[in-house]
Amino acid sequence: MRPALLLRLATVLGFVVLLEILCRLGVIPNFTMIPPTTMALGLYRLLISGALLPDLETTLSGVAIAVTAAILIGFLAGALLHAVPRLRRALDPFFASYYAVPVWAFYPLFIVLFGLNDIPKVIIGFLYAVVAMIVNTLNGLDRVPPVLRKMARTHQMGRGATVLFIILPSAAPHIFTGVKLAIAYAFIGVVGSEFILASAGIGYQISFAYNNFDNVILYSLILFIILFVSTVNLFLYSWERSILQRRGGR
């Protein structure tokens, strides 16, 4: 594990240093990209000044609502579809091609229906996230070994107990993957919507900075998104690891 970790850190660090050198030397002009240290400094100033806080709050609360709804509804829909295989087979090609469709095409529709507030982008984030949750819930339920179900029957466990003690723990790793993807997709949906049309939010600020040629703010915000999503991922990854280890590892 250690050499791999070392190699990974060295590569990422090397990449950042290379960008820094290229930007400092002017090989990459400053109106294309600013040096990573300037980005970090810009982000630090932005966070200290507190100017970003309202946008941060809109974006993050939007993502939070979209993720929560997507996880709950996606899980229930997945469980329901698993119980009706015929409907599921009919839906399969739609699920498989779902992520090729630009969900943002429906964004104006939601703006007309709900107005230019936070609701349309939350719906887009939800729509983006929910299918990943459904598909992974189905995946997880598919992979519950039949022998476990049989054992539950032999022990005359009730339906609730079977679900709680046998099926859910067994399907958990896949459902967890669904949760991870749901968070990522909700982020994409919400930030993308703000990017297209919104009056606040991180995505809106990025597009605003781009249109005003304000590269320091632009790259500070992009750096923020990368750092934030990576941190969330790292946290989920280590949590997943600890769950898997407790179950005897893989």
Partner: protein, 254 residues
Amino acid sequence: MSAIVDRPRRIVGFVDTLLLVAFLILVWQILYEFAGEVALSPPIATIRYAIELLGSADFWPNVYMTFRAFGVALIIAMVGGLTLGLVLGLNRLLGEAYEPVLVAFYTVPKVAFYPVILLFFGIGMAAEVVFGVIHGIVPVVIFTMNAVATIKPVLLKMARTLGLSYWQLMTTVVMPAALPEIFTGLRVGFSLTLIGTLLSEMFGSRAGLGYMLMQAIGLNSVTLIMSLTLLIVVFAVLANALFLVIDKRLHRRG
């Protein structure tokens, strides 16, 4: 024997899909009655307009622009993804080192990178191709890598015993053994490359289906928005249905 059992089942599956489509159209119609003309165009009118679009001279140059960028992006994503996936899958150290980086890159909202790509490549086909590739290449790499890494060691040992060259090893052992999983990766990569290309056209370009869509959004032309979306959905669903059939066949054989 299985062919005889399979056929009625497949017909049932097809009928189910048709029923589902009919149900979706019904829901669409009901939503239209509820939401009205400002927000939705009714199914019949949308389908009629979509067919009209297919016959208009304005439409095909845009389709050509989109599919040119999509085609180039797809080739780069597939060839690049396969190569990277093979390298990372066959070398444990590299695989372990870079998989988390790839997964992290997969989950970062790439929409946020779009201004960076525009700054580097300018508005036009290059930016569209790059945006398509960064969306599509990661799943191809991840699926290929995992497929190759989980090949039964006995197969690789036998190849070594037989003294196969690197090229022979790739074409006669690694690729056939990993093909079903690799194909799943290609299928996912196809969808994501398509959405990457379309999004890139939506956010900054002067031609293509995404550009048409964005213009329609700007004009709030509901019928055009929905017809274009319908055509894109139909294309994506048909292509994916075909891939799913091949995918299932490959997995069954393996």
